[in-house]
């Protein structure tokens, strides 16, 4: 594996782990959602890295190009990004409702208020 | 190397110098207003130089028209954003850091009063 590949995948895993850490450890709900987005983006990088071919062109048909990157991961990720923002919006709406009902979006406080959680 | 390439190189070089100078300014100047003057002045001109150099690279194609559109867009939005930001900072009662403050030994960072 080339050096660039190792570097790419290492950073992808690093980003994934930062996102995971944010989701687990930060108690603010909005920040958790940011962590979720970071995690999601790292998965996008992973797919796009798989589809990349060194020296290939982007998947736009051109008469004098022989080698194209794989268009399939691009399609999957393109839709995943839009779906991702839609789900993020639902999560944010939930955070707003929690704030209105409980007066806080800190998870620790929520646990204290509602012992059934 | 024909004349267009040399001209393009000169334009791109000027743009790069302006960009780096602006970035150094934004990093090194003491308070918000001076930093804003560093970035606000260089940003638009740097964009102009870069776009000009790239237009020479692309030649007379549709791409040059698109570059021109980008330049027009940035020509409107960059100064507007800078102006609005400065106005917001003034509204937010962010005081400029003056020589008197420096003499009095006050810190230069983030005085909102």
């Amino acid at each position: 594996m080339s050096g660039l590949g190792i570097w790419n995948y290492l950073i992808i895993i690093f980003l994934m782990m930062t996102g995971l850490y944010m989701v687990i450890s930060s108690s603010n709900l909005v920040k958790k959602l940011i962590g979720l987005n970071v995690f999601q983006t790292s998965v996008f990088f992973m797919y796009i890295s798989f589809g990349y071919i060194t020296g290939g062109a982007g998947p736009l048909f051109n008469e004098n190009v022989e080698l194209y990157s794989n268009p399939l991961p691009h399609v999957l990720i393109l839709t995943a990004i839009v779906v991702g923002v839609a789900t993020t919006a639902v999560g944010l709406a939930l955070a707003i409702r929690i704030k209105e009902s409980f007066g806080t979006i800190e998870e620790d406080d929520l646990h204290k208020m509602d012992s059934s959680l | 190397m024909d004349i267009l390439q040399i001209l393009s190189a000169v334009l791109l070089g000027l743009g790069a110098i302006l960009g780096v100078v602006g970035a150094i300014g934004i990093l090194r100047f003491p308070d918000f207003y001076t930093r804003m003057h560093a970035s606000g002045i260089t940003d638009t001109l740097c964009t102009g130089f870069f776009i000009g150099g790239l237009m020479l690279q692309f030649g007379m194609t549709l791409a040059s028209v698109k570059l021109l559109l980008i330049f027009m867009f940035m020509l409107f939005t960059c100064p507007t954003a800078t102006h609005a930001l400065a106005k917001a900072a003034r509204h937010g009662k962010l005081k400029p850091w003056t020589r008197a403050d420096a003499d009095a030994g006050l810190s230069n960072e983030g005085r909102v009063s």
Partner: protein, 185 residues
Amino acid sequence: MLEQLIDIFLLAFLAIISIAIVRIRNVFTAVMLFGIYSLVSASLFMILDAADVAFTEAAVGAGISTILMLATLSLVGRDREKPLVKKKISFLPLVIVLVTGATLVYGIVDLPPFGAADNPVHTHVAPRYIFQSMSEIDVPNLVTAVLASYRGFDTLGEVVVIFTAGIGVLLLIGGRRRKEENADE
């Protein structure tokens, strides 16, 4: 060569920004840094030849996500308030993250080489999409061809998901405030 250099730089930017997002306590600043993060990741997609994905990420990730998060912050309060519960330092999340990360790093050793043209992923269905779509569909942008025609059923599902998410947001926070109960039709 140059593409690799830019790639390395941008990935390093991403790592720096993500660390900063983890460490910063003010949520507003975290949202702003997330905006930068989206911009950088969109340029990275650009470098990796995924122009359409970069387009989407720039418009959706950097634009709409950031704006929706700002709108949420304006409703839930900007700053991290003093928590009622004193947060006790816990090393459990860090341990979990490190163990998971180590496992994944162990896993990448077996991945096929980065950027090679004969990886398994490029041999199965991609050649058909690439080389026959011009005669079958005649749309130069292969991504559009795959998105709308070969995989049209998937995309229908995605559109329905977005529509459902819109309905969900409307049901959760749309309409009148809770002041007058049962005022919603």
